[in-house]
Structures are given as C-alpha cells and as structure tokens.
C-alpha cells in the first residue's frame, strides 16, 4: 500500500509512547539516532514544501490541471529518498520488516500521472507523510506533542481510503497508455530468457490491493485503539 502507514518505524517504535510510562529507553546508538532525526526532519520538510507548492498552484491557477507536472521533480526526489527506509530496516536501526517496507516504498515508485486521480492521492500522501514524519521526528526527540500523536492515529481513517482510491484510479487510467507504449516491459527473445509485462504487473498490483488494504487498515485501527485508548489487544498466536 503506497500510503506507508506502518507503525513505529523510522526510529520511533511504539515503545517510545510507552516509554513515558515505563521509563525504558530504546537502545539506538547516537549516530543512528542523529541520522534518523535528520532524515525524518528532512522528509517532513520535503513533504511540507510539496504541500505548500500544491496549495500555491491551486491558489494561482484555480485548477489542479498541470499540478502533477509542476511538482513532479520534487515529488520524485522525495519519493526516491524514501528508498532509504528499506535500508534503515536492513541495517536494523528501524524495527520494521524489510519486506513490508520494501512493498510500501516500491508501490509508489511506479505511479504514472493522470490529472484527477493524481490530486486525490497526492493530497492524501502529503498530509499523511507530513504527519507521519513529524510523529517519528518528535518521538525520536522524546518530545511528542499530543496533537501529533492524535493526528497520526486519526487522519488515516479518512486519508487511507482516499489515497488508495486515488492510486487505483490513477493506475486504471494509465493502463491503456502502458499497454500501447510497452513501457518498463521486456520481451522475448533476449539473452537472459526473461520477460516482464508492466501492463499485467499493474493489473496484479491493483488486484493485490483487495487483500492488502483491509489488513493494513485494520492493523492501523488496532494500533489506534492500543495507543490512543490504552486497550490491551490479545494477539492471535502464530
């Protein structure tokens, strides 16, 4: 799912919320903490810049037409940087699974533009990411304003479905263009005896939202109940 609503990543685990209660310190070296703090602040700033650019565009032009083109470079820059989040998991300074993060990050790399639906997911991504990265930043610095925590665990209720709708519509709208141009695709014969059809890949991606989105959404709902309302959830055994 492109809106990376994975909890407790990028240096701020849920332990940091309970930390105030238990006084337990999460063991992260100074260098790792410094880097993650810098990273999260930078990403917050980046998505803020994007959000401001979007608002300004709309105020000047009065329409969302051409919006994607104008912010494309900045968007791609910050989205590519998010690849680092996979590295963070790999080297262990963030406790999330590499696979989950990899899926989330890569699901965003291949988005193609189409004006209307793009606005949908752009808006939800920017708001979500600003909230999420500020949340991690403040948690890392041990100074989490209650508002940020509230935002992080409530905004998603609306933003997540909106973002997913935007993403799905965008992929759907791009399909004819993908099929005609054969972009990102590799055909036989070739000396590596492999082929890749981006068109079918996108179809499978769209289908995968059906099982994945509810799981991620309900996971966030459960996290929300645990963090905001202190509910004790009995996890299913594996």
């Amino acid at each position: 799912m492109a809106s990376s609503e994975e909890d407790g990543t990028n240096g701020a685990s849920e332990a940091s919320d309970e930390k105030e209660a238990t006084g337990k310190r999460r063991r992260l070296g100074f260098l790792a903490t410094a880097w993650l703090t810098f990273y999260n602040i930078a990403m917050t700033a980046g998505w803020l810049v994007l959000a401001i650019a979007m608002v300004r565009f709309y105020m000047e032009k009065g329409t969302h037409r051409g919006l994607y083109k104008s912010i494309q470079k900045t968007l791609k820059f910050f989205q590519t940087f998010a690849l680092l989040e996979v590295v963070h998991c790999l080297i262990g300074i963030v406790p999330t699974s590499v696979l989950v993060t990899g899926v989330q990050v890569s699901s965003r790399i291949f988005m193609i533009q189409n004006e209307e639906s793009v606005v949908l997911f752009l808006v939800s991504w920017t708001v979500t990411e600003i909230t999420r990265y500020s949340f991690y930043t403040f948690s890392l610095l041990d100074h989490l304003p209650h508002f940020i925590k509230w935002a992080r665990y409530n905004f998603f209720i609306i933003l997540y479905p909106v973002g997913v709708a935007g993403e799905l519509l965008t992929i759907y709208a791009a399909l004819p263009y993908v099929k005609k141009s054969g972009m990102f695709s590799v055909r036989l014969p070739n000396k590596y005896n492999v082929s890749f059809d981006y068109y079918y890949f996108l179809l499978i991606t769209m289908a995968s939202y059906i099982p994945l989105f509810p799981q991620l959404y309900f996971h966030m709902l459960r996290q929300r109940r645990k963090v905001l309302h202190g509910e004790v959830i009995v996890e299913k055994d594996d």
Partner: protein, 308 residues
Amino acid sequence: MKHYEVEILDAKTREKLCFLDKVEPQATIAEIKNLFTKTHPQWYPARQSLRLDPKGKSLKDEDVLQKLPVGTTATLFFRDLGAQISWVTVFLTEYAGPLFIYLLFYFRVPFIYGHKYDFTSSRHTVVHLACICHSSHYVKRLLETLFVHRFSHGTMPLRNIFKNCTYYWGFAAWMAYYINHPLYTPPTYGAQQVKLALTIFVICQLGNFSIHMALRDLRPAGSKTRKIPYPTKNPFTWLFLLVSCPNYTYEVGSWIGFAIMTQCVPVALFSLVGFTQMTIWAKGKHRSYLKEFRDYPPLRMPIIPFLL
C-alpha cells in the same frame, strides 16, 4: 510407588481443561498428551504444546514427569499449535509439484505457448539437459524424503503446505516457462558454458546427497539424537571442515550451476531466494550447534567457507 496428579490449564485463559490422576512418575510428556487427547479428541498430540510456564518453552515428548521441576501435583499449560501436517506429506507434495509442472512446459502442453507449438520439441540440446537436471533433482528429493531423511519433528503447521507449495510450484512454472519457450535463447558461450555449468550441477548434487547420507548415519533410526557431524571417507563430506551445513552449500551451488547452464534470470532469482532462506536456516543451525556443543570446531562457518 507414589502416583502424580496432572492438571492441564489453557495457557491463555487459565481455564482448567483436564485433570489426570494416578499418573505414573515415569510417564513421558508423550503419554500425557495421549491421555489429554482422550478427553479432548480434537486436540491430537501433534497439535498440543504443553509447558510448565504459560509463556515458556514447550516440553519435549521424551521428557519424563518425574524429572521435571514439579511437585506431585503438576500443573501444565496447554497451547494449541493449530492443525498439523506431517513433514513427509509436505515434502512429498511440494517436490512432486515441480517435477510434474516442469514436464508440462517441457512437452509444450496446449494453452501455454501458441497453438502452433503444441507438443513440439526444442531444437536446443541445453533445453533437454535442463529437463533431465531439473527432473532428476526433484526425483532425488522425493527419494531422499522417503528413504534418507530422519526428521526431528513429526509435523508442522498446516498453513505451511500452502506457503511452501506456492513457492516451489510457482517458481518451477516460472522457470520452466522460459527455458522451454519456443523463443528460448541458448547460453552466450555455447557448449563450453553448458558443460562447465553441468559439471558444477552434478558435483553439487553428488555433494548434497553425500551430506544427506552422512547426516542420516549420525542418527540411529527412530531416534532424535543430535551429534556434531564430521568429515567421512567420502571426499564430498570434507566440506564439513569448513561449514556447518554443507548440504545447503551444495544446494546453492547446484542452482547456480543450473542458472549458468540455462542463462535464465528466473532461475537466478530462484537461486537467490533459496540462498537467502538456506542462509537463515544455516545460521540458526550453526547457533544451535555452538550452544549445545562446547567443543564445536571453531573454523566452521554456517554456509559459505570463511565468509557467511
């Protein structure tokens, strides 16, 4: 002789599930599990985990009641492991699939490639070689499952069979599709490359088999003992000097050989994924060896000599 009383509580709810009185002191956990099944037939022994502490480790089937740190009234905690399936069943199913599926592609059964290719045969020698290698690899695995391997555990969770079969069957189909495709491109360096790769494949398969036999001989039939494996007269087993799990080393080698032979990216990816999984297993095994045996040879690495 004093008899024990055993009460079994649910590890999560602490509900009293069963009370056994007049239990022999030398009764094993396996026997207690059998008694528990009588009162709760849906929980056959393989899916029972009994432990002294609700959050502790499972007791072993061979553990004797008398030797456990319990009083004459023992409290055991029960956790349901979920539906179980035997290792042998899982292995046979997950290996039979690739054997069969690959052949569907090799014989170009209808509806895979264009209709004009139905039941045609490739003109490339390497494609026929690949079929022989792939098929004999899985036949070897099936025979080893039936006659060679001695499993520590009888069962695994049922959901594993779906996960494992998806992995093996999926990759087999993906590889087979390209290797047996009418537009397949033989290796860049021709017969030289194929010969070299085939040699690697055969040597590693023999190596892998030798290790499986050596491991089997370490453990008498029906037992679950663990011993440090050592090199034998068979030169293939000399890899034990350098790694804890040479069977995995040889298996990775085989698939690298197959990838070079077919020059096919999906095969390389399959090798990579397999290597990753086997490395995780090898590291775990290596750690257990180190924990269990004080005199474990220090030169050995888990899977790759000197490196990993």
